[in-house]
């Protein structure tokens, strides 16, 4: 009955500071979110493959991670049936066009370049959540959900 559903967010990032910033940015938003984090790609895949895992609405994925890179995770995720509709946001410092295009070709929905300032991160996250929310509630075609910020 209530339209302000809790948005579940999962972040995979090996940088502790980035994770802290990320959580702080989410806490400042007016949307209700619950944020969880994992520290690398391996941990992420273990989490998602657990049959009892609560699947997040959005996954923020760092590209450059030890053990398993973000791109490897992305490719695995897109092969998993139960995760096909998961919105994948690539969250990376790289601005190489090749990196960016490769992630989209492999099924990423959003490419978010890690912003230098927390205030900008807040604004950008809010923008991404709003658009993702529209895809959830307005019956938009998720195949066409591509966004670069």
């Amino acid at each position: 009955m209530i339209n302000n559903e809790m948005i579940r967010v999962l972040l995979a990032d090996d940088d502790k500071e980035d994770r802290t910033d990320f959580i702080e940015a989410f806490e400042a938003l007016k949307m209700k979110t619950s944020v969880q984090t994992v520290n690398d790609g391996l941990e992420l895949m273990q989490y998602l493959k657990d049959p009892s895992a609560v699947i997040p609405h959005l996954l923020f994925l760092d590209l450059n991670m030890p053990k398993k890179t973000g791109l490897e995770c992305l490719m695995e995720i897109k092969q998993m049936d139960k995760l096909k509709d998961l919105t994948v946001v690539i969250y990376s410092t790289s601005s190489s066009e090749k990196d960016i295009e490769a992630t989209f070709l492999n099924g990423a929905n959003v490419y978010l370049k890690k912003p230098a300032h927390l205030s900008f991160l807040k604004k950008t996250l809010s923008h991404i959540l709003t658009i993702n929310w529209q895809y959830h509630t307005s019956g938009l075609n998720r195949d066409n959900f591509l966004l670069q910020v």
């Binding site: 989209f104 809010s126 709003t130 307005s138 938009l140």
Partner: protein
């Protein structure tokens, strides 16, 4: 002797709501203390009755009227974009106010409250979504798409597309078509 009490507010609220709903005979599930899923659409009277009973406990069903209005607004916007009616597309605020029979300022305020975005942004988003669909069909040129969606020029269309998605229309097209080819290839390989 004074004893101190500790509360689990969520549990208390759930118990209260359950207590109230038990005698209505409605089938429902409580997603959490803030979200109630009723397995049927309530008539306006039933909803009012339920709400007023809950209000006695200090609980209120939030903005259901408002979300209905937002749904209607969204539908009117999508219809408008699909209708291909250039004249109404020029004056959306006027058209929405007339179709939904509400002052535009009211519509706009309720819309922002419920969706966290504005009607204007929603219209842009929907137009861009429509454009994406047309691009993915690969039948129309960008100029034709711009014209169909009532942009003054292909330049204006491209700019709004870029501002909304971060992609130029041509890069978007390349990625979407390439992705589709990949899926087809995978299907053949399997």
């Amino acid at each position: 002797m004074i004893y101190f009490l500790k509360y689990d507010i969520q549990a208390i609220c759930k118990r209260l709501i359950q207590g109230e709903l038990e005698h209505t005979g409605l089938k429902y599930s409580l997603i959490n203390a803030n979200e109630l899923d009723i397995n049927q659409t309530l008539s306006n009277e039933d909803l009012k009755a339920l709400n007023s009973n809950l209000m006695k406990l200090g609980i209120e069903i939030m903005s259901s009227q408002k979300s209905i209005l937002v749904q209607k607004t969204k539908k009117a916007i999508i219809d408008l974009i699909n209708l291909d009616d250039k004249l109404s597309l020029c004056k959306t605020s006027h058209h929405l106010a007339k179709t939904l029979n509400h002052d535009y300022r009211y519509l706009s305020r309720v819309f922002s409250e419920v969706t966290y975005t504005t009607i204007e942004n929603y219209i842009i988003l929907q137009k861009i979504e429509k454009a994406k669909e047309m691009i993915a069909c690969n039948e129309l040129t960008f100029t034709e798409i711009a014209w169909r969606l009532n942009y003054s020029s292909v330049g204006h269309f491209s700019m709004q597309f870029k501002n909304t998605t971060g992609f130029t229309p041509s890069l978007f097209k390349r990625i979407i078509l390439q992705r589709r080819d990949n899926t087809i290839l995978e299907a053949i390989e399997n």
